[in-house]
Symmetry: C2
Subunit: 347 residues, 2 copies
């Protein structure tokens, strides 16, 4: 958590006012605006001095001399962590859309993405639930014929997966045995997300001389285990990003949209989210903090929902850094609980 070093009460108030104004208007905000907006009763000149300090401390930046200030990533971070007061759920629900029952989970999740997008005006994604806490129980490789190996993989809930692997030259029984040993001793009991590229590289190394053949085998195994094997990701409101000028120049739009199309990048986001479990299950990535490089000019808010049995899925909202965090977090929480209710009512 970021501490507010060098920031006294007044500076905090001013920073807060700057960010809040900027979130609303999207325009750089100047000293005079703040002077009027806050009840500090300070002249614009004084505000200017404070702003100068805030800039030096890195919380705000100036697009160019003679423009107002806008929050930096650091500023946003402080805002999200400390300044923002989450709106008390307003009672007049301003008729936001709610989830409707659906017969199939697939439909429900698609709808969830849609509803969230239309309520927030940002781009959204929802992943199907995966058993991410699942442990690997057992791996067995066997030669089918001269050129094919079959890998049988058993996961925690006795979910069985298998996969044919082509090899150039047959493995000797001995090597196969060794390999089975190695895989089982190293990987057994590990959860899926613990098996990452680093570990795989190490395994390959240990596999020694046959690492070339063995490399293929491991790749295939890793591929099968990969969380994205069965996971679907539904997106909605991608084109909402065109509503925000800072994201809708060709370059950015292209990057963001292709991230949405190539689901692989979103998969990365999902795995990250699932692995870093926080108390509330909601995470905010601002700018460069994001796991998805293509979204480095955005803010990304993710949350997990649960199905019981350790089955977990991810919801995500992607928008400009100046997104309405309060509203987004509220919507997120509501969807989370709606989904919860749906799934638990069902059973």
């Amino acid at each position: 958590m970021v501490s507010a070093q060098g920031l006294n009460e007044r500076k905090l108030t001013i920073l807060h006012a700057i960010i809040k104004t900027y979130l609303e208007t999207g325009e750089p905000v100047g000293s005079r605006t703040i002077s009027k907006y806050t009840d500090l009763n300070l002249s614009s000149a004084t505000i200017r001095n404070e702003m100068s300090d805030l800039e030096e401390l890195g919380y705000i930046v100036q697009p160019h001399t003679s423009a107002g200030r806008i929050p930096s990533d650091k500023g946003y971070r402080l805002y999200v962590d400390m300044l923002m007061e989450e709106k008390e759920q307003e009672l007049n629900e301003k008729q936001e859309q709610m989830l409707e029952k659906a017969d199939k989970m697939e439909k429900l999740l698609k709808q969830a993405a849609k509803v969230l997008a239309s309520n927030t005006n940002y781009a959204t994604m929802v992943s199907t639930p995966m058993n991410s806490a699942n442990k690997l129980k057992f791996i067995q490789l066997s030669m089918v014929d001269e050129e094919q190996i079959i890998a049988v993989i058993v996961l925690g809930g006795n979910v069985i997966k298998n996969r044919i692997i082509n090899v150039d030259e047959p493995l000797s029984n001995e090597n196969l045995l060794k390999l089975n040993m190695l895989l089982n001793t190293t990987l057994n009991g590990m959860s899926i997300e613990e098996i990452n590229l680093g570990l795989i590289a190490r395994l390959k190394e240990q596999a020694g001389i046959h690492s070339e053949v063995i490399g293929n085998v491991l790749d295939a195994v890793a591929d099968v285990i990969q969380i994205d094997e069965d996971m679907q990701i539904y997106t909605s409101g991608t084109t909402n990003i065109f509503k925000y000028p800072e994201l809708s120049d060709k370059q950015s739009a292209q990057e963001i949209i292709s991230a949405f199309e190539e689901k692989q990048q979103l998969t990365e986001l999902v795995t990250q989210t699932l692995s870093k479990e926080e108390n509330t299950g909601i995470q905010v990535y601002i700018g460069d903090e994001t796991p998805v490089q293509n979204m480095k000019d955005c803010s990304v808010v993710t949350a997990t929902y649960e199905l019981g049995d350790g089955m977990k899925g991810t919801i995500g909202i992607i928008g400009p850094k100046r997104m309405d965090y309060e509203h987004v977090l509220k919507s997120m929480k509501r969807l989370q609980s709606e989904l919860d209710q749906m799934f638990h009512k069902k059973e």
Copy 2:
């Protein structure tokens, strides 16, 4: 097929030259360019006269006075139908990507979309194969309780689908019987694509007084029958449209991209394509001809591939009207045959 009314040899040559040049450059083409480009040995003044005629005939248009001419939709149509000579498959394959084998059809199709997009630089889509020739065999509605009807629908290959339908007031047995009769006599033996909105409207009308309740039932039935029930559509290269200035203004880009995200619109494209079977199975929609309203500024090229058993899928390319039709058709045909090979080798 459009006939070339009022077009003599020379006009055709000039029109051909204009279109070809425009496809390459994307800029309005002027008389002087044509005068030099063709071997007609005519002065620009003469060309100007001919162009004036061509404009009057509707084959080309002027963005504004004192600009060159660009092809109209009618012009493109003529070009695609008559003028274009399909490049003989060049032997030096200019190393375009090929399909690789894949274990699952899903992967193969995703890859197909990707390869096509990267070979053509347009946006692409591939649908999973559907048994579109399938006939409806039987429909049975029964009351489950006061508020719910279950609809059991049997398709050709004895594929059974069912669906719960909520109604406000219970239907009498008599009405239910009538309705069952009506549905079966009208719909039986029809292929899925024959059941369109028009037919459904007519059915509702025939259902008479109860058409309100009955409307719901029919909607639900139609929904179940809808081809898109199980169909998946994979897209790729959506962001390629940013490469073409005429499509990459916010407005157009947004429309096109949301059509790609809301798969429903693409589904419409697929059903259209499957229903209008041409000899080669390749269709070109130019501008307003497209079944998808959002793509009215694009050209859309679709093709079908077969799996045997009447299972058919659709491939589509979406790009600017000035797309390289020759290349696109070539790529399309190649992919078609590659897919054919894949699927038939497999079995």
